[in-house]
Subunit: 230 residues, 2 copies
């Protein structure tokens, strides 16, 4: 029979968004050679554990969170020395969460868990910088052809929140009128009858919500979500 001496891990790049800033979740190691340094949440999988469950477990254990969106990003196994203890192949996952929904809670192996603005992430251990870079690209491109932005926002949000999210993540200006026109033309965002005002002044705005059911219906009819601007 085959004999292999390779371990399998999962890691997650978890994005959060709040008030014009995109964040990534990192964990401070408690033990081992990399103690005190920052890495992505993740760890070794159990023998009878599906990959996806391993990610969800680690996110719960290391930071106390459950994500809104989770998909496989890619498997890192070409550099046989990416972990210098022994060979580890890591399956990286891409995740989105609304930071408001959780209070980070470092647990078990983790000394600390923290949101870092995407541009202020400390040097991460292993090849986790590469993973973040890849995930960031995926986020940017996916935002344009799949309605995943809503997984970063509250269930009910102002149009300006959605618009700022796109501006922030895509790093470009967007025309408010054209943006609203296009989003509404899809029919997957519906207006609630609630009105709120944020901050000290300004006209209150209507709250909107993402109609996931409608979106799934449209998908069956060959609908293609697509937000791109000059």
């Amino acid at each position: 029979m085959i004999n292999q001496n390779i371990k399998i891990a999962v890691d997650a790049i978890v994005f959060g968004y709040e008030k014009g800033t995109l964040y990534v979740l990192a964990i401070q190691q408690r033990f081992g050679k990399l103690a005190d340094s920052w890495v992505l949440p993740g760890g070794f999988i159990l023998d009878d554990e599906p990959l996806i469950n391993a990610v969800e477990r680690e996110l719960k254990e290391e930071a106390g969170i459950a994500v809104n969106y989770l998909e496989q990003l890619g498997t890192f196994g070409d550099d046989v020395n990416r972990d210098d203890r022994f060979r580890v192949i890591s399956v990286a996952y891409f995740a989105l969460v609304n930071p408001k929904n959780f209070v980070l809670k470092a647990d078990t192996d983790a000394k600390d868990a923290k949101w870092f603005p995407i541009n202020e992430i400390p040097k991460l251990g292993f090849d986790h910088d590469d993973m973040v870079k890849l995930a960031h690209q995926r986020l940017k491109s996916k935002l344009t052809y799949q309605p995943i932005g809503f997984d970063l926002l509250d269930a009910e949000f102002l149009f300006s929140d959605l618009e700022n999210l796109y501006c922030t993540i895509l790093e470009q200006d967007i025309d408010r009128r054209n943006f609203r026109k296009k989003i509404l033309s899809f029919g997957i965002v519906k207006e609630t009858n609630k009105v709120v005002k944020i901050g000290a002044s300004g006209r209150p705005g209507k709250l909107f919500s993402f109609d996931k059911h409608k979106y799934n219906q449209l998908l069956k009819e060959n609908f293609q979500f697509d937000i791109r601007f000059a």
Copy 2:
């Protein structure tokens, strides 16, 4: 230290195209429980072998081919019983090759290696049917936003070849004039001064070639390849 009892394999979905038909490469097992049944080319990786090298090695060993295009497709490790001998996690790769460039040559573990038209693939072992399905979707969508079709054709090809490739893979009719106009507008396909005729009759056509260098240049200038039709 961590103890895991999981093996890691790679598998490849290799697409070939010839005369209006899309093919997938499959291997007939020589040994083991699945002897005689068809599976995707692949196998266990070596302890000190990068994943990508493992795929290339297996393709050479099992079918005697070297591909034009290779990228990671995804990792299959949620079904812990996808291999009923013991737990195997497989990293699937997506590959393109011009079948004309090679004579398939089953080697070592393989009893036979064969091209199957995408619609006539026999039931494959493990979860390889799922892999083919996923790869097929990837091929279809990628064809529209990345110039990978050229990796399935000869270095020099007729415009009608390219057009038929798109028709075949995307399973839709394409207006010849609009297709040619759009492809040529990108400036990444250049006309050679060779003229050939295929078959017994009809006007001979000019040969064209893909200008990869030009494409890479354009990428730096934010060029976006995009072929979509009604």
